[in-house]
Symmetry: C2
Subunit: 463 residues, 2 copies
């Protein structure tokens, strides 16, 4: 450890020394790759944590990435595959023989192996499974029999279970003698003769208990048994809600089949959040590492939907061409009404989508929240009615234009508040992910209502 | 355990039996609250996990919530405060005497106590600290001396440390005899005489090792020492990157001062993500449980910024009033150009903001990503140029209008791609959170460029 008096003070706000993939390391790898020095590349990569190797592969330009892979040959730690971004991993897997891929899968824990194999197409999947050792293959096949994104896919099949009637001493002796324990675990499951779990003993609790104590006396409180078919979002909710480190997964008949640990749940939480953010922004999947063509294609469909809604808004404007020709100020001012409605609605919608995701917005408080958003929308509508009315009046010197835009603003921001909360709740009730479709429906509503109210009121009042 | 043959099959997709706060429980509490039955309320609330009690308080209408609190009197488990939504917790705390609040803080682990006390204003904070037992007070004061959102605020000060020269047997004997161990821990830290940590021994590793083995031989690999001043976002990054369950926190001279566990990091990840989603939607803080007035106020400032940018866009339109008067189709079509640019830019921006947050977008690959986004924007621009050009031509029967809108579309979607990536990167470089300001800057750019290109080209070509 560095002496505080002689060593330079560490920069406490940097990850220096904690995050393995420093600029210096990347620079060294790039030099070694460019000079084709396979030994140097292997040496540096071998010294890194698999998660850092994954980051290294992700951050290299694609030409250097290919060269790195060919220099490493087959010498990539299987763990690296568990950490790689999905689109890059798929590229890498495509280049591998089934037998090679089976070896990679065999080098992973069962949950990571399932994660790797589940994305393959049917033919490749079978080829890889056929090349795996029988024990591993059965494990992976069983996991694949559970639905996608379920607890059964997420769980690890390596866990420690002991008969529920043992003592602390018997348990410790068993653990000292059994070499085939998983690398890391936090708890030991007590099971009955039917392999149904009766509870979990945390390792630290075992350590501090006398050898004669029956494990049944030191079971952790609040033991959770998660059905293997439960959706991973619900699993993540339970882990967050009860600060779980580990939970037992049981099959339909209540038998222990695996264990989910909190580090896997952290990945799920990250994944679900990324999805929510991307969907709200109109992006189907994280395409940072995708090629140009794939990215263009994946974003196109969303833009097509938006074109359709933009044309609908234009059709509404088209109804009032005569009025715009007479009072051109209407064309100048109309985007303000639509834009303010869209922004106010998006605020409400964002709060609602997040609250639905974390189960804070429920049938119970929905009415109260809807009422609140409508009032907030109405009040903000009145404030901005006065502001925009004044701007329009001073700009075009016409009190009626000020009045019309003010009235339209109140109506549109009221509607925006209502739609901002009702659209996500409605989609959620219809089992459609509110993060995907809420935004486009909302802005269509606020555009149409905004243009129609403003131009329609103008037609009534001004002309 | 239910017998599979007689008990109804569990609904595997529900949280029934796993999430304590069922509809039935809420219904019972509401009945007990309405009838003023303090015993029944206390009995039900006492049977719930503190996290569920927090959810219960959150989901009740505010009148029932107040009545529940008065029925419970002071009998609320201190742990509930650790789980409550911040705005509701602040309301509850405001009603408590400093001495009562000090008792609550004393009933919490040190990190939760800090979390509770750090939000108080200076006077209340001092009053609470003065009422706390000296030992707890010093702990909290030390934690408060670290910056907000730092590892020092996040860490728990209760941990297990042993001399680095001990054996497994000595460690187990110590743990069996020391009653003052924390409730839960996963690892035991080996420290030198200067209290600088040399590594961590996972509890499960200790359990499976023979008593004579020195702990120095079974230290976990990849031991991480986190400086107490490190930002919690970086802490979360390290936990995710290396699948940590627990990490040591050290002060400026490298001495062990606390431990961060993964359940706290899960909360940080959740918090940071919520912030990102809300900021992208133009909401400063989660205001679901805030009162109407506070919500209206907090959203107002963002809407004011949007009004300013909407007026700027209108000023651009105002430059071309003459052209709009002559060709009113321009007013009908112009929102399409602006809207498509805004949506395409938002897609890019969302991917960029997320990639910056998870450190996937760095100085190293920025140029490549910028180039890619510009190409994607350009290609999509050309596709939509053809589409909108055709729509405009068939609608208004004028090939020149089709040409003008097509050209404007290409320019605006190219600019949208460029701005969608450059704005977040630029803000990040300037140490401004890209999630907050990116969106408004981007849509201002796409509105101004969209209107200016379309109307300006029309002025050149059509008139």
């Amino acid at each position: 450890m560095a002496d505080i008096n002689t060593a330079p003070a560490p920069d406490d706000n940097s990850l220096e020394g904690l995050y393995g993939l420093t600029d210096a390391v990347i620079h060294d790898v790039q030099e070694a790759v460019d000079s084709g020095d396979a030994d140097a590349v292997g040496w540096i990569v071998g010294s890194l944590h698999p998660a850092d190797v994954a980051d290294l592969i992700e951050c290299l330009p694609s030409a250097q990435r290919d060269k790195l892979e060919s220099l490493l040959g087959g010498d990539l730690d299987p763990q690296v595959f568990a950490y790689l971004d999905a689109s890059l991993r798929d590229d890498l897997i495509d280049d591998l023989e089934p037998s090679k891929l089976a070896a990679v899968a065999a080098g992973l824990e069962s949950d990571d192996a399932v994660d790797l194999i589940e994305t393959l197409d049917a033919g490749d999947k079978q080829a890889v499974l056929d090349s795996m050792p029988a024990g591993d293959r059965v494990m992976v096949e069983q996991a694949l029999s559970y639905p996608e994104d379920s607890a059964g896919r997420l769980m690890r099949r390596e866990y420690v279970a002991i008969p529920a009637f043992w003592t602390v001493g018997e348990t410790i002796d068993h653990m000292r003698s059994d070499a085939d324990l998983p690398e890391t675990f936090y708890g030991i499951f007590a099971v009955g003769p039917d392999h149904k779990p009766s509870g979990v003993i945390m390792a630290n609790r075992l350590l501090r208990s006398q050898r004669t104590v029956p494990v049944a006396d030191i079971l952790a409180s609040g033991f959770k048994q998660i059905p293997a078919t439960m959706d991973q979002e619900d699993v993540a909710f339970l882990f967050r809600q009860y600060d779980l480190a580990e939970a037992a997964v049981v099959d339909a008949s209540g038998r222990l089949v695996g264990v989910i640990t909190v580090d896997d749940v952290v990945d799920v939480i990250q994944e679900e959040h990324d999805e929510d953010i991307l969907k709200l922004g109109g992006v189907a999947t994280d395409d940072l590492y995708e090629a140009v063509a794939a990215t263009t294609r994946s974003r196109l469909s969303w833009l097509l939907v938006n074109l359709a809604t933009a044309v609908v808004a234009s059709l509404v404007i088209g109804l009032f061409q005569e009025q715009i020709e007479t009072v051109v100020a209407l064309a100048v001012l109309m985007p303000i009404v639509a834009s303010m409605g869209g922004n106010a609605g998006t605020q409400t919608l964002t709060v609602a989508v997040r609250a639905l995701a974390v189960k804070e917005l429920t049938a119970r408080n929905a009415l109260y929240i809807i009422g609140k958003e409508v009032v907030v929308g109405g009040v903000n509508g009145m404030i901005f009615a006065v502001l925009t009315g004044a701007i329009a009046y001073f700009w075009f010197g016409d009190i009626l234009i000020g009045l019309v835009i003010g009235l339209a603003m109140i109506i549109n921001m009221f509607v925006a508040g209502l739609a901002g909360i009702l659209v996500p709740i409605g989609l959620d009730r219809a089992n459609i992910d509110p993060a995907v479709a809420s935004s486009v429906i909302l802005t269509t509503i606020t555009d149409v209502v905004g243009f129609f109210c403003f131009l329609g009121l103008a037609a009534l009042v001004l002309l």
